[in-house]
């Protein structure tokens, strides 16, 4: 685990010593403010629409953050060093996830101004804000894990980002397609879509199914990343 933490710390430092990390965080913070203004147009001190929009924006963020995880490293030649070091592949994958997860924490902190502002002006439901942020982390980690798997499969950061976005869009849209099907395919596609697992977070409840879903996404993403790295070693 120590090796994973070392990799995570290194990646986190590298991200925030570069304009890319600062730019992403600042841009996401600004986007959250713009989304807040749009979503408060219902004249209610409620943040469910805001969180809902942030979850979608997390897909974009995940694609951008994970392009540097493996694809960028391969492009610059540092991935080979990492993979040949005496560190297990799962430790590398976990370390990478923790690294981008750390960025997610900083990004979340940067958005906290929004609920604080709403609390200062009105009376939002604090429970729903808490579960919104729990959902933010779960959704974010799940998307980041998918991004890591895609990033491990390519040496092109552009392909990594586009591939991550495509994979997440496919998962999301699967739930929409499910509406046109019947029987078991409908149930399965609906279940696989992240859109059907965020409602609880938005309204103030934490459900075992939703936590299990995003936990599974993290595990599956990490396992896929390890498998891809192993095949490329």
């Amino acid at each position: 685990m120590r090796q994973s933490l070392t990799i995570a710390a290194r990646d986190l430092r590298a991200t925030y010593l570069s304009a890319f990390g600062l730019g992403c965080t600042a841009a996401f913070a600004a986007l959250s403010g713009v989304l807040l203004v749009f979503d408060l147009r219902g004249n209610q001190a409620r943040l469910d629409l805001w969180f809902s929009a942030l979850f979608v924006a997390l897909a974009v963020l995940a694609a951008l953050l994970t392009l540097r995880s493996f694809a960028e490293e391969e492009r610059t030649g540092t991935l080979e060093l990492l993979l040949t070091s005496p560190v297990r592949l799962w430790q590398v994958a976990v370390g990478k996830l923790l690294g981008v997860g750390g960025v997610l924490v900083v990004v979340a902190a940067a958005t906290v101004a929004c609920p604080l502002l709403v609390a200062g002006m009105g009376d939002p439901d604090p429970g729903a804000i808490l579960t919104g942020y729990v959902g933010f982390f779960l959704v974010g980690l799940g998307f980041l894990a998918v991004g890591l798997a895609v990033s491990a499969a390519t040496s092109s950061p552009l392909v990594s980002a586009a591939g991550t976005a495509a994979a997440l869009a496919a998962l999301w849209l699967g739930g929409v397609l499910a509406g046109g099907l019947g029987g078991r395919p409908h149930v399965v596609l609906q279940y696989l879509s992240p859109a059907n697992h965020v409602t609880g977070f938005l309204r103030g409840t934490l459900g075992v199914t939703d936590v299990a879903y995003f936990g599974s996404m993290v595990v599956a993403g990490l396992a896929a990343a390890v498998a891809v790295l192993r095949s490329r070693r």
């Binding site: 600042a26 429970g127 103030g204």
Partner: protein, 458 residues
């Protein structure tokens, strides 16, 4: 090597699928929302525990809409309370055979079956489903008889002074309401299937024959609710005196505990009884009420409980149309404004449950309040009034957990007008200040790092 990788992948996918299936089957929820809006009411929990064998709920809904998702969420909560309660959401369009079998003719119909009985709920809503479960568990509906013919407010009247809210409570607790007019007919009597008789705010006096009929009913293990008023000419004393209660009329005023500027709009905070009628009630609002006196020693076997008492600074104003001031002729507080009388006695004959008859125990229950305004649509949802009425009804009819809660408010109203000033404030802070601070922190860190490196390697 490759085979091991494939095997590992299969095992992992199987574990993930199994884990998700398990989570889907036992989808427990933690409700952190304000007032636990998405959790079922405690009464629903108590009701669910009364289900002793398999209870099946089928909700006929369009499964691709958000209503189906919400329905599954709600029905899963019932399953959490009692594993014997199972549910399915069926699309009547995709399952026309099932829809035909159950005789479904509109979306959102919910069919509940239990021990060979069936009850339908009109929609997937906690109150409707809980009412249906109550009817199933009880084995049917019970009848409550409401006295009419004396200017009483109507249970269909949804104006502020009407009793439509009371009517809704009766409906949601699976009571059938029958109006009882004892002023017509040759020798009118109270029907045998009346689980309780409610005298709710009579404005005109009851005739001697009516009083005699109701008293005879009460004496024969009857259950009577008398909600009296000083604003009417109807004197409730002939009805309530036999049960240790005397209505003194006047106007109860409590300058220390009243709502707004009106000392007659009394707030009750003393509910001293251990009676189940006071369960879960901490305060009441009793406007325009008269006082009650309690005679606890009327006879053996009769227990009279003061349920709600005003503060020591209150009194019964005998001349409310003149100045409200305590003077001679007024009755000093604390004043009792609600009572519960329970009279158990043994009669020599009349037992029907054993062959040959024998002595039987007769139990009468009478609930009296000196105000009738607290039950109107305007006041029923003030403080603990609704709960108090539901408790009284449950105590009279000897039902355990009745449903007091109104339809759970899914709409959570938290107004926040988005003025131009607020909009500007949000944008300046979130688009300007916060990103600016982040970038400044980054630039600052780089400058510091550069300076440190220059010092190390000049």
């Amino acid at each position: 090597m490759r085979r091991r990788g494939i095997l590992a992948a299969v095992v992992l996918v199987s574990v993930l699928v199994a884990g998700n299936l398990l989570a889907y089957a036992h989808n427990a929820q933690a409700d952190l929302s304000a007032a636990h809006r998405f959790s079922l009411a405690p009464e629903t929990g108590a009701l669910a525990k009364r289900v002793r064998s398999s209870l099946r709920i089928i909700a006929f809904l369009n499964v691709s809409g958000p209503a189906a998702r919400d329905a599954r969420f709600l029905l899963a909560r019932y399953h959490e309370l009692n594993r014997r309660i199972s549910s399915t959401v069926l699309d009547p369009d995709a399952n026309p055979g099932e829809a035909r079998r159950y005789g479904i003719s509109k979306y959102s119909t919910v069919v509940l079956t239990y021990r060979g009985r069936r009850v339908d709920a009109p929609q997937v809503d906690e109150l409707d489903i809980s009412t249906a479960i109550l009817r199933l568990v009880r084995g049917g509906t019970r009848t409550v008889c409401v006295l009419t013919g004396h200017g009483e407010p109507s249970l269909d009247d949804d104006s502020p002074d009407g009793l439509a809210s009371v009517g809704q409570i009766l409906a949601h607790n699976a009571y059938q309401v029958r109006t009882l007019d004892l002023t017509v007919g040759v020798s009118p009597s109270v029907p045998r299937d009346c689980a309780a008789v409610l005298v709710l705010g009579a404005r005109d006096p009851l005739g001697p024959a009516e009083v005699a009929t109701l008293t005879a009913y009460a004496r024969d293990a009857g259950r009577l609710m008398v909600v009296a008023s000083s604003l009417s000419t109807a004197d409730p004393n002939p009805l309530v005196n036999p049960w240790g209660v005397r209505f003194v009329g006047g106007l109860v005023v409590d300058p220390q505990r009243s709502e707004g500027a009106d000392p007659g709009n009394v707030v009750i905070e003393d509910l001293p009884s251990a009676s189940p009628v006071d369960d879960g009630v901490s305060r009441l609002q009793f406007p325009a009420g008269g006082g009650l006196l309690v005679d606890r020693n009327l006879r053996d076997g009769l227990t009279v409980e003061p349920l709600a008492v005003t503060s020591g600074g209150s009194w019964v104003e005998s001349q409310p149309d003149k100045e409200i001031r305590f003077d001679a002729g007024d009755i000093p507080g604390p004043v009792v404004v609600a009572t519960a009388s329970d009279d158990s006695r043994v009669e020599a004959t009349g037992e029907q449950r054993i062959p040959g008859g024998g002595p039987r125990i007769v139990r009468t229950r009478v609930f009296v309040t000196g105000s009738d305004t607290w039950l109107t649509n305007r006041f029923l949802d003030k403080l603990g009034n609704r709960r108090f009425f539901v408790n009284a009804l449950g105590w009279l009819t000897q039902e355990e957990q009745l449903l007091a809660k109104t339809a759970q408010a899914q709409a959570d109203d938290r107004p926040l007008p988005l003025t131009a000033e607020r909009q500007a404030r949000i944008l300046v802070l979130t688009v300007g200040v916060v990103p600016g601070l982040i970038l400044a922190a980054g630039v600052g860190a780089r400058l510091v790092g550069r300076r440190v490196r220059r010092r190390r390697h000049p």
